[in-house]
């Protein structure tokens, strides 16, 4: 660089190149191919391409893991709203009722009806029923192992007797095979729908009762149930 004039000092810095030559030289450089290494390839573009690929891959992984399901209400990227809905930790009362209603519509509605009124002399009503609104231990037992033989049901305005011909199946057994949590959901729903107003039932309570009656075989009878508080 012999062309650089000696510096004029900080009071007037000397230029080492004219504007025109800067533009002319760089316009030439823009189209110039990168300088090849001894092996015959250019290192800089390859390294840049490698960096770009690595960055794009890393960013994709990061984004997928932190996207929060694209849910506008999820502020923490580590939470996936879909899987969070199925764990009891994230359950709200609304979700419990919604889950219970879905199960009721799937497995109970055929006999007990959309309004929980049952069918006269065939299936007992749930709306206003003293059983449905009564002891937790008894309703849990009915759902876990089923019910057979005659039963007397009191509703708000009448007392009904049902014959023994219709059995209520166990919801633990196939084809239902419900978990304790799901049984608690549907029980909570039934106890709070159709004008009922009984406290909710937790999955832990269902588990406790199931373990208590593990030795019992077959459906319960009215007498069995009345022996339980």
């Amino acid at each position: 660089m012999s062309s650089i004039p000696s510096s004029l000092g900080p009071r007037l810095e000397s230029a080492a190149a004219s504007d025109d030559s800067i533009q002319r030289v760089h316009a030439g450089l823009l189209g110039q191919k990168p300088e090849p290494e001894p092996g015959g390839y250019a290192l800089a573009p390859l390294a840049l391409l490698g960096l770009m690929s690595a960055l794009i891959l890393g960013c994709c992984i990061f984004f997928v893991r932190n996207r929060g399901g694209f849910d506008p209400l999820v502020y923490n990227g580590r939470i996936d709203p879909k899987s969070a809905a199925n764990t009891s930790a994230a359950l709200t009362p609304e979700k419990i009722i919604a889950n219970g209603k879905a199960i009721y519509g799937l497995s109970c509605i055929q006999c007990h009806g959309p309004e929980g009124k049952g069918q006269p002399s065939l299936f007992p009503p749930l709306a206003g029923s003293d059983w449905a609104n009564g002891s937790e231990d008894r309703v849990i037992r009915i759902l876990l192992h089923g019910l057979k033989d005659p039963i007397k049901v009191k509703t708000v305005d009448s007392t009904l007797d049902f014959a023994s011909s219709n059995k209520m199946p166990s919801l633990l057994a196939p084809p239902y095979g419900y978990s304790d949590a799901k049984i608690s959901f549907v029980l909570t729903y039934v106890r709070q729908a159709f004008g009922n107003n009984a406290p909710p039932i937790t999955a832990e309570k269902v588990t406790a009762v199931r373990e208590e009656i593990a030795a019992h075989k077959g459906e319960f009878t009215q007498a069995d149930l009345l022996a339980v508080p």
Partner: protein, 491 residues
């Protein structure tokens, strides 16, 4: 500049002189305003810094409470100094590189005065207590349309210089400057409309505010600084930019990702997780343009360039600006990592990286450019070489001291804030030493700016300084710039 009529057959000398003469008045007026604002901002910033450690300082004055004086300092720095100085050097650079002899600089001066009146009203509005609560946009909304019109009138001249110029080629500096000129009004209008004139609802406001704050730094200050550095390095070193064919990639990748990176400022904030994640990955992708720009700029110093740093102050300013561009972008990338963001958000660490852009990148590049261009515009040498050196070392010391103390203080603050066992009052107490160091840095910066201002005023106003010796106009032969040589490659 009639003294430097074409004295040699090499055309550029005379041409450069004509170009400089055409933009002399507007550039000097803008620079004078800018330097006044720089002093104002430094003084206000120093008051704010002192108040952080000594709350009883000036406590009786309502206009100087911390909540007013701190945003006033930031806005004076960003709009008073930043935009005025940015437009001044952009105008000069664009006229030089486009080889445009601009007519009618008088209108530009009117627009410059309007801009500065607008900023003054805005700063007074902040001090009077009418500020907005949006960071970097605290000026009362009423001055914003006024500012925008004044800005467009000024920026139109710079764009006009490109259109009117006779240069057949574009240089990388022109891309950066031109892009920044368009990005700022885009940011201002979009943020102003969505925050003040037709406010969007809910958390979208915080997204817009973060986008604006990051855009102002990354799409106005940083690009202007880069444009200047890209020009000053070959200009003073006499060597082309290394791996120049990569420069377009650097520009486009930076433009693409910087606009998105603002959302990373909202890490763990009350905005949808995917927005935060998008901002974070945009910040990570910035590593790509930063790598390109680092190769371009630092590559120029390879092979003897480092020795040149000892010779010229302009080159030193430019080198610091290049260094801080890389450093500040790496800080933004680091702060986008969730683990780091959990500590650094809402601390002085985040503020330190913003100062690194506005001061380390932009202001240093502008200082360097002004030290190069002002004697050529005026036709005289700088009066005091010692003040130039003093300015550089004071500014560098202030920048490094403020950066280091606020970063370390911010890290400690963030670590303690996440520990519920440490009372909040203790956290505040523990950051005090760092803030005191930052106050000292503010004083150093103010001193440096005073040296700059004294030198500038003497250069412009006193034609006969040191009348006995070399006060005569610069002979044109000294300003003649040699031709840049194309680097010869092995192939």
């Amino acid at each position: 500049m009639s003294a430097s009529k074409p004295s040699s057959p090499v055309l550029p000398v005379a041409e450069a002189a004509d170009i400089d003469a055409a933009v002399r008045l507007p550039v000097l007026v803008l620079l004078a305003f800018a330097i006044l604002w720089l002093l104002t901002a430094s003084a206000l910033g120093l008051v704010a810094a002192i108040k952080l450690t000594r709350p009883d300082f000036l406590a009786s004055c309502e206009w100087l409470t911390f909540g007013r004086v701190y945003p006033a300092a930031l806005n004076a720095l960003a709009y008073g100094w930043g935009v005025s100085a940015g437009l001044a050097v952009a105008l000069w650079l664009m006229a030089r590189l486009s080889r445009a002899v601009l007519p009618g600089g008088g209108l530009l001066v009117v627009a410059a005065v309007c801009w500065n009146v607008g900023v003054k009203l805005g700063i007074l509005g902040i001090l009077a207590g009418w500020s907005n609560s949006v960071p970097w946009l605290e000026m009362p909304r009423q001055v914003m349309p006024f500012l925008l019109v004044a800005y467009v009138c000024m920026a139109a001249w710079v764009v006009g210089a490109l259109r009117a110029g006779s240069s057949p080629r574009l240089y990388v500096s022109q891309w950066w400057v031109l892009a920044a000129l368009f990005w700022l009004p885009w940011l201002l209008t979009a943020a102003g409309a969505m925050l003040f004139f037709a406010p969007v609802r809910g958390t979208v406001q915080s997204v817009v505010a973060a986008w604006y704050a990051h855009g102002l730094l990354a799409l106005w200050f940083a690009p202007l600084g880069l444009g200047l550095v890209y020009y000053l390095l070959p200009k003073l070193l006499g060597k082309p930019i290394r791996a120049y064919y990569l420069a377009p990639f650097g520009f486009w990748f930076y433009a693409l990702f910087s606009a998105w990176a603002g959302a990373a400022r909202l890490a763990d904030g009350p905005v949808p997780a995917w927005t935060q994640a998008a901002g974070a990955i945009a910040s990570f992708m910035l590593l790509l343009p930063v790598a390109v720009i680092a190769v371009n700029l630092f590559g120029s110093f390879l092979g003897g360039g480092l020795a040149a740093l000892g010779r010229g102050v302009v080159l030193r300013f430019a080198a610091v600006a290049a260094l801080f561009f890389v450093l500040s972008t790496l800080l933004y990338v680091a702060m986008a990592l969730p683990g780091v963001a959990a500590i650094t958000r809402l601390t002085w660490f985040a503020a330190a990286s913003d100062y690194a852009v506005i001061y380390g990148v932009f202001s240093f590049a502008v200082f360097g450019a002004v030290y190069y261009l002002a004697p050529r515009l005026v036709g005289r040498e700088w009066p005091f070489a010692s003040l130039i050196r003093a300015h550089f070392w004071l500014a560098l010391a202030g920048l490094v001291l403020a950066g280091v103390s606020l970063s370390l203080g911010g890290l400690q603050q963030g670590r303690e804030l996440t520990n519920a066992k440490i009372p909040f009052a203790d956290v505040t107490q523990h950051t005090l030493p760092y803030l005191q160091a930052a106050t000292l840095a503010g004083a150093l910066l103010l001193l440096g700016h005073l040296a700059f201002a004294v030198n500038f005023v003497k250069l412009v106003l006193c034609p006969r300084h040191r009348a006995a010796s070399a006060a005569a106009p610069v002979p044109a032969s000294l300003l003649a710039a040699p031709e840049l040589e194309l680097e010869v490659h092995a192939s």
